[in-house]
Point group: C2
Chain length 334, copies 2
């Protein structure tokens, strides 16, 4: 089957129309007619080969929504016509300790939707049906797309670290991931503090559910927040003053990175000991968490704020993303 | 009341006999006739004023065991004659959020047994009865002493981070704290890997319950342990190659510091993200954990290996501790 898509032919290039022959539909596979695909910062990193893992031509796109048009012989949970979403992860081994424990996102043999395979920025996508998730009725497709990577990436640590009505959650960086973290945390009943370097977002952040908006870079303001926050989720791929953020944590507090900060984290060991604080990372979410997140989002109407554009405008979308102009997630539409 | 004790008169000094007038017995206080007192590395730090928190004359000792000889008017849970133990913490505010949640060890207003008060290296100790714990029958007093600081300090993170029969626990540094961590982890059903810089301890560590003994400083050996351990408890106040230890963690693994490593921890953020790893600190234990630990130790016969010496030999004990010669905890006896 021939698939019309958009690809970077070399690192850092603008995307161009690109057709490829899809692999044969395997027993566990599903073929999706793509209606929408979100744009994530990871797509930009892949285009730029920032992680030295990209292969070209590279079709990005890992927040994919569409209708099932064909299923492999072994697929029982999805039928032709189902509306599904696909995120960052494409497959897992289903045999290792992590998979057996339901943590497929930690499987060492996992594959990604658009590393070594072509992603969702095209008309069709053939992928492992075990990582295609039926979307709840009533959820708009354009609004479902950003949940599939950005949404689950922030939902997973909120759940893992006990975000609930007695906790104060801080969200550092309020873009595609962060604005969903604010909405999820507010829906969990948390007190929510949003940290942003864009003061123009303040009013919108309050409307999303933030009870307080702070500068993410003003050291003096951060010092004033000592002992205020139980769980800090950092969505920013930037070096921040982690010592000040650790001070902002209450005892037993957790600083969780979901965006890779470049270079080394440098913190005094004594700052972790006194107050029993943690620094940790969280990496997308497992399948169970994805299903739970979709149900939760449908039930509580957690809806990303999206800019929907025709898929042929993909390069414009990527430029807006590179310039931090997306408010808050760009979704491309066929 | 006049108390005969041993004190450092100035920083880094040898202890000398020292008599002081104890404060009046408060309503919530208890007076203990000290039978035993363990020696902890923190006592050495206090003697040396390593934390700039010491006041002199300083009577160290915060692993105190003895009989209750008087109780304040408000004390209901202990009676004269009871055998009790006292650890690092002397009191808490019992009013802040942490105290209300049962985490008195995180109370900002907490006081320590031998900071600003005289500790247990003497004949008597007057202290807050709410931090005096009845000892289980059948537990030897000399063997109970090291549990009151060293024991609870390693028991708390083992419990908090889910050490159980499906986990592999690594213990870095096998001294007073570490040898108890090995015994607790083995009793929890964990696979136990002990990391030591003293190869002569190997045979003893196996007898304590370690399934594997590794060098704590051999980079090549550490590299060979990649993806092996769920929970690493570091008891050493030393700089180690934390990057190698993080590599030794399985996905979702936790590196927990209970001994303050000097200087900065420096780790790549990406190493926390990939595999969802955590670095955290743990600080003694709350009262509920202390009681649970004592019950568990009694039930499963978790017994520290002690060198018992007469209290007048305190300086010899301190010298052995400074020289890392204690096998494994020095306990002084009246």
């Amino acid at each position: 089957m021939r698939v019309q898509a958009f690809a970077a032919l070399v690192a850092k290039a603008a995307l161009v129309p690109f057709a490829y022959d899809a692999a044969a539909l395997g027993d566990e596979d599903v073929e999706i007619e793509v209606s929408h695909c979100g744009l994530c910062h990871s797509d930009v990193h892949l285009i730029d080969d920032a992680w030295n893992r990209s292969t070209y031509p590279l079709v990005p796109g890992h927040e994919v929504v569409g209708r099932v048009v064909a299923v492999g012989r072994a697929v029982t949970h999805l039928a032709v016509g189902a509306r599904v979403g696909v995120g960052w992860q494409r497959s897992a081994c289903f045999a290792c300790d992590r998979c057996l424990a339901g943590h497929e996102n930690l499987c060492a043999a996992q594959q990604a939707t658009c590393i070594g395979h072509h992603g969702g920025l095209g008309e069709r996508l053939r992928t492992d049906a075990r990582f295609a998730f039926a979307l709840p009725d009533g959820m708009e497709s354009a609004e479902a797309a950003p949940l599939l990577c950005g949404g689950v990436t922030v939902f997973a640590p909120l759940r893992r670290y006990g975000a609930d009505a007695k906790r104060t959650v801080g969200v550092i960086g309020v873009g595609g991931l962060g604005h969903l973290a604010v909405r999820f945390a507010a829906a969990f009943g948390c007190e929510v503090v949003a940290f942003t370097s864009s003061p123009d977002k303040r009013k919108e952040l309050h409307a999303m559910g933030a009870h307080e908006v702070q500068s993410s870079t003003d050291a003096r303001a951060l010092r004033g927040l000592a002992d205020r926050i139980d769980l800090l989720i950092s969505t920013v791929p930037a070096r921040l003053d982690w010592i000040l953020y650790l001070q902002a944590l209450r005892p037993n507090g957790v600083l969780c990175l979901v965006g890779a900060s470049p270079g080394l984290l440098q913190v005094p060991a004594a700052q972790l000991l006194t107050g029993q604080k943690s620094i940790c990372g969280s990496d997308i979410g497992d399948r169970g968490t994805m299903v739970e997140m979709l149900r939760f989002a449908a039930r509580h109407r957690i809806v990303p704020t999206v800019e929907t554009r025709p898929m042929q405008d993909v390069n414009l979308g990527i430029e807006r993303l590179r310039a931090n102009q997306a408010r808050y997630r760009i979704v491309l539409e066929n």
